[in-house]
């Protein structure tokens, strides 16, 4: 029985359910943060301590040496400049690849959802199936194709490769998003005399912000973390950061510095992480817009 007459706000007792919600979220967060914890701890320890093997313990001798080494002085072959060398290469690959693959995806999505082009749907179907094929299968023939055209091992080449393999997802996302836009809009623009390109740039593209954000996030993550394409197609001058990361981390017969490995991995992940932090809310909104027609 309530002794006081109920009035105003319902008394906010800390209900079991509320505690449960936070308990679950915190447990899940712990589970998901665990590897990160192990990596951070390892990156702050000297190798002697790592060999002793308590992976979750706090470092007894805290050192940031591994981080600075990973960034600027770890050796990958003759050059001992850490992964910082590849950073700008990665940026140079990233920006045009992301921009180009998004714009091509948007144009494709637009053409597929608003215009009827013969055979376009069949093309789209093949493209979708292509998304399920392991990339490795394409490597050899692509090398041949690109060396025939003479652009093999260049910045242009690696950008084209990223655009090609971004096609399925990008086209799918934009097509679905545009199918959700009212067709009246398009019809009105046609009646006003808009052509294919003017409608796209004046009407459709300005309405695509949520999807552009999602596409950017997906492509930035994918392209930034790519290793195999960068290695195969970029050429020595343009090797992305992941190749250096791999050089530091992977070595068949050399000794391993786990602290540097871990620090390098986290450093290499910074760019996508920043993108997530900055665009988190947009991400959810954009996916909502794009996934409707799944």
């Amino acid at each position: 029985m309530n002794t006081i007459e109920p009035q105003g706000c319902r008394p906010r007792r800390l209900t079991v359910g509320r505690v449960g919600v936070y308990a679950f979220l915190l447990t899940a967060a712990l589970f998901i943060l665990l590897p990160l914890w192990i990596m951070i701890m390892t990156s702050l320890k000297p190798m002697d301590e790592i060999r002793l093997g308590n992976i979750v313990a706090l470092p007894t001798a805290l050192t940031f040496e591994a981080w600075s080494k990973a960034w600027s002085s770890a050796c990958t072959g003759l050059e001992c400049n850490g992964i910082s060398v590849g950073f700008w290469n990665s940026v140079r690959i990233l920006i045009p690849s992301v921009a180009l693959s998004i714009i091509v995806g948007a144009i494709n999505g637009y053409a597929l959802s608003f215009w009827r082009v013969k055979g376009a749907n069949v093309m789209f179907g093949v493209l979708l199936l292509g998304a399920f094929i392991p990339y490795q299968v394409f490597l050899y023939p692509l090398v041949r194709i690109f060396s025939m055209t003479g652009i093999y091992n260049s910045l242009l080449c690696i950008i084209l490769v990223h655009v090609i393999f971004g096609l399925p997802t990008m086209t799918l996302l934009f097509r679905n998003y545009y199918l959700g836009l009212p067709i009246e809009l398009f019809k009105a623009a046609r009646i006003d005399g808009g052509g294919f390109w003017s409608i796209f740039f004046r009407v459709i593209l300005p309405m695509s912000t949520p999807m552009l954000v999602v596409a950017t996030i997906l492509q930035v993550t994918g392209i930034w973390n790519d290793f195999i394409f960068g290695l195969t197609f970029a050429g020595r001058q343009n090797l992305p950061m992941t190749v250096q990361l791999n050089n530091i981390v992977h070595s068949t017969q050399g000794e391993r510095a786990y602290n540097v490995d871990m620090a390098a991995t986290m450093l290499a992940a910074l760019v996508p992480l920043v993108v997530y932090f900055v665009s988190g809310r947009w991400f959810v909104r954009g996916i909502a817009a794009g996934a409707v027609k799944g």
């Binding site: 109920p6 009035q7 105003g8 706000c9 319902r10």
Partner: protein
């Protein structure tokens, strides 16, 4: 005993106070309509009554019980929403019985109530369809049916007809009115921004603006004696004519003067004694102006004529400005024609120009 009683309720979202100390009593079996433009807080009030929204202070009583802290399901209410809010991928029957099943009502009882509600609403043939196979009107019937099976003493409607086209809206409006009559003692609280719905359905209308109650009264009161300029302007279509002017002392008491228009206010019931020389707004509904060859005001010229079938709206103007007149015939229905207007002084409203309150 009132069926629903809102006592000194404050609703606040963080710093923003939606209501500050609002009170409202609703009688048993009454059909009450909360009317107001969007953003006036009418839905917030309804949600607070339903318990979907916590009040910051004050109490809500339903059926003689303080339900301020009760869950919506325990308040003896049923609710119908603008977007129908039907459970997707459940058949109509499942939609209607879901709540009862959750409350562990015996199966035969569920069956009985669903069938009864379906019959009442004439949706028996739809019972096994799914919402996405229904038209908008059918969906809203189902939503009402879902409310009906709850056997509630208070029905809450949150703009239930706003998503429907005009014809269906009329049809369902009548349906709801009939339902209210059939259910007898059931109280209905109905939120809308459509003054026609409010006028046709309500026993009493609560007009809200900017989170404040403007007037409570029967449709007739609201229509004839709007308590302020806002209510006067919001209710009624076409809108009431407003004429700015001032009160002057005349031979037979006060007189309204606006330029060369003059109107002796004989028979107008002032709510309190008025002095002369106040700035006022005169409100005259279009149907209280009559077209005459010789009238109170003359020298009007017809601008536009809108025939509406049963009656005709005539826009006419003189040097002071334009007025709408509702006539029932085709007299004086050519633009450019000159005419005079007769005014029934007992039907006009006067408002203070500064506060907008009725005088």
């Amino acid at each position: 005993m009132s069926a629903v009683s809102v006592r000194d309720v404050t609703v606040a979202f963080e710093a923003f106070r939606v209501f500050d100390g609002l009170s409202l009593d609703i009688n048993e079996g009454e059909f009450i309509v909360l009317l107001g433009p969007s953003g006036c807080g009418k839905s917030t009030l309804l949600n607070a009554v339903a318990g979907l929204l916590d009040v910051s202070s004050g109490q809500i009583w339903i059926g003689g019980k303080n339900v301020t802290w009760e869950e919506p399901k325990d308040r003896g209410i049923a609710m119908v929403f603008q977007s129908y809010a039907l459970y997707p991928r459940m058949s109509v029957r499942e939609n209607m019985s879901f709540g009862l099943r959750m409350a562990k009502t015996p199966k035969p009882e569920i069956e009985k109530r669903v069938n009864q509600a379906a019959e009442t609403l004439q949706i028996t043939h739809l019972l096994d369809r799914r919402p996405d196979q229904l038209s908008g009107g059918q969906r809203q019937r189902v939503a009402i049916g879902r409310a009906l099976v709850r056997d509630a003493s208070v029905f809450l409607f949150d703009e239930p007809l706003s998503n429907l086209d005009a014809k269906l809206r009329n049809e369902l409006r009548v349906e709801i009115k009939r339902l209210h009559a059939r259910l007898g003692k059931t109280t209905m609280v109905y939120v809308t921004h459509d003054q026609i719905e409010a006028m046709t359905l309500a026993d009493r209308i609560v007009v809200l603006k900017e989170q404040k109650v403007q007037q409570i009264g029967s449709p007739d009161e609201i229509y004839r004696c709007p308590s302020n300029l806002f209510v006067a302007g919001f209710v009624g279509s076409p809108q009431m004519n407003f004429i700015k002017g001032r009160l002057k002392g005349g031979d037979n008491g006060l007189e309204f003067v606006s330029g060369k228009r003059r109107l002796p206010l004989v028979g107008y019931q002032f709510s309190q004694k008025q002095r002369a020389d106040g700035e006022v707004v005169l409100g005259i509904r279009p149907e209280h102006l009559t077209v005459a060859d010789v009238g109170t005001w003359s020298d009007f010229k017809i601008d536009v004529v809108e025939p509406m079938g049963a009656d005709t709206i005539v826009w006419c103007s003189d040097a002071e400005g334009s007025l709408q007149v509702r006539t029932n015939g085709c007299k004086g229905s050519a633009p450019g024609q000159h005419l005079a207007l007769g005014i029934d002084t007992t039907q006009v409203s006067l408002f203070a120009a500064n506060t907008g309150e009725r005088l």
